[in-house]
Symmetry: C3
Subunit: 283 residues, 3 copies
């Protein structure tokens, strides 16, 4: 199967589905196409949280603020999975987690993870019906003139899938893949926890305004209240444990401390945005 | 096939798609993941309207304001279909309609509908790649620490599907299903129609602001106008029958009276919200 | 495979997926269900841009401001593809492009394109579980009482697919298809380019506020700046080439000139809406 993730909204992902359908009959599953636009870290977080629940698959990821620059297109093999997308770090946190089942220590490129640069000159381009695009070979290159999701990443993902998820040790047989030992790094920041105090930050804000921090949920163990940037907030196990409109700290399904509001937006009420510092203290 | 419905937005449903894909190769079809958040009645209405158009299937539904409380997880067998979700009534209106084809009288639990409590301790948990979640066994239980859609409902739905839609008479062979005769009730309210007057309420407001009432569309038969809470409104069969921005009463595809505005929002123009009383009179 | 496109939002498309699933096991792929509501031209543009990337398929399209009027339901055969939807022009730009691979001159109905009126009285209606709808045969016909996407277009699309994409020369064997030589026209407007000046208009605004014009991207070849309705704007190949919040002109993946803002909305900053005139001059 192939999963699809992007910050494209609609209808741009449809062209990727079409190109994939030209190359494979396998199941196509959307992860999301409304990741915060050009936010590499948010996409990396959500992929890290969702891709580990999939069976072996090729994961096509296009969150690509560098499109139009000379950043590489990458494929990373992680255990039974392959991730395909831009070389900007977005693939790495999920790749490390997907590879961890088959690796004793933290996987890195060359040790648990194999990385390949995609040479699009070696890819069969997508078939496209009808007239040539109006600007072929005449207009400037632009953020989208080459739509890399459709023209590079989807063809590569489809061809890697058809090559065989059970033959990933032989990926170099694909002419468009060139092994590389260097990729752009990305590590989601860790919180510091000591002496009843956790210092971290907001990693992402979800659709509902819940501010997801990087503080491990274990920090809230046995707490009834916690100070969030100095203010005392109840620790609760259900939204309904506090009145409508009231704040709570809880542990999300990802295992991190979330700052939420019952039937409201935690980000606005706590005054937090992505990247904002968060200090939690026992209270 | 398996349908998926929730109020999760994105990307949380992707983890459910992953878990289902671990267990079954059957078709996965999204009904919607943007049901009004935690609104059991709206979800129940839309499921009642859409699920009857599907062939025999397992329907996974997660609209669950009680997550984190001790509400049960349920499976309800309705004819050739099985609905899986929380025991809060959200499954019942659709289940009664799905079972009606095989039942002379209104189906109830034990008479046309079979209900089972899902014992998650008897379910094989989803496989998940990589590191354990940061809070495993240390943080408090929370609204999401156990993500029931991913960890309970999706595994149950996948296993029930693989057990076989043609073997639903033998569902008790599944160790995680315990027959029950009691479930949380939910009935969508009926309107009262008499003497040229209908008294009902707004059941839901759709994406476009159309206020869908529980008054049967037949009330508008042969009417050119109708009074809506005292105000005279044209009855029309197309939006275009009234000028842009003007109100109309019409009959939606669900068969109920809708209060709409041509290229506008009916809810705002009529001053109606979900649950608001609506009186219709011949005019 | 069958693609689905509409302006329905959710959850109405789910009923179409259900009806299609009653009739075919083929792959169902969403193009988009959030096309600007009742905007035939925007939908026609996006279909023209995305459908050519699909392998042979049936394309179900429901953007239908005339629902409830006597407009016809159409199927158009274009090469190896069939488009199914209302007779309002929305299918034509994509159909002409899909047929162009097999036609030397611009395809028209009868020359490269075959059109059929769908006689819904000859279609097997969808199966639906449970009670009859509350208004059956009693309420007025209305914009939605017959939900054409669910009750006409989806059944026709499913039956045409099952008839066989390799038998499209024999489509008249389907009793519900009546050949026609006349359909409602739609042509996306062309820009005028001469003497270093292009006069066109905004065709659509995408999800991100990029204003997509009908000026061919080649107009920007070798330009560093361009005057947009008199104001001088940099021509750039990446959003990041201009500061956050600044305007740029670029060439989108569709090959037309786009007026964008780095991390902002081009439509608002340029003061442009769909249909607005745009004059570009060398600068």
């Amino acid at each position: 199967m192939i999963t699809l993730s992007s910050d494209f909204g609609t209808p741009y992902p449809a062209a990727m589905r079409g190109v994939l359908s030209q190359r494979t009959a396998t199941r196509l599953v959307d992860v999301a196409h409304d990741f915060p636009r050009q936010d590499i870290r948010a996409a990396a977080f959500w992929l890290h949280e969702t891709l580990p629940y999939f069976p072996p698959a090729v994961h096509l990821v296009v969150v690509d603020p560098g499109v139009g620059t000379d950043r590489n297109a990458l494929a990373i093999r992680a255990g039974d999975h392959v991730l395909v997308g831009p070389d900007n770090g977005v693939l790495l946190p999920a790749a490390r987690r997907l590879a961890a089942t088959t690796s004793a220590s933290e996987p890195t490129i060359g040790s648990g993870l194999d990385a390949y640069i995609i040479d699009d000159a070696q890819l069969d381009p997508p078939a496209v019906a009808g007239h040539q695009q109006p600007t072929d070979s005449t207009g400037p290159s632009s953020p989208h003139t080459t739509f890399h999701g459709r023209d590079v990443f989807a063809p590569a993902a489809g061809d890697i899938h058809e090559f065989g998820l059970d033959r990933l040790d032989a990926l170099t047989e694909l002419a468009f893949l060139e092994p590389t030992s260097t990729v752009s790094p990305l590590t989601l920041p860790d919180a510091t926890v000591a002496d009843g105090r956790a210092t971290g930050e907001v990693l992402v804000v979800d659709d509902f305004g819940n501010a997801i921090t990087n503080v491990p949920g274990s920090f809230l163990a046995d707490c009834e209240h916690v100070r969030v940037n100095g203010e005392r907030v109840p620790v609760a196990t259900t939204f309904g444990a506090v009145p409508v409109g009231e704040r709570l700290a809880t542990v999300g399904s990802h295992g991190y401390v979330e700052l939420d509001v019952n039937q409201g937006r935690g980000d606005e009420t706590f005054g937090l945005i992505v990247g904002a510092s968060v200090t939690l203290e026992s209270a």
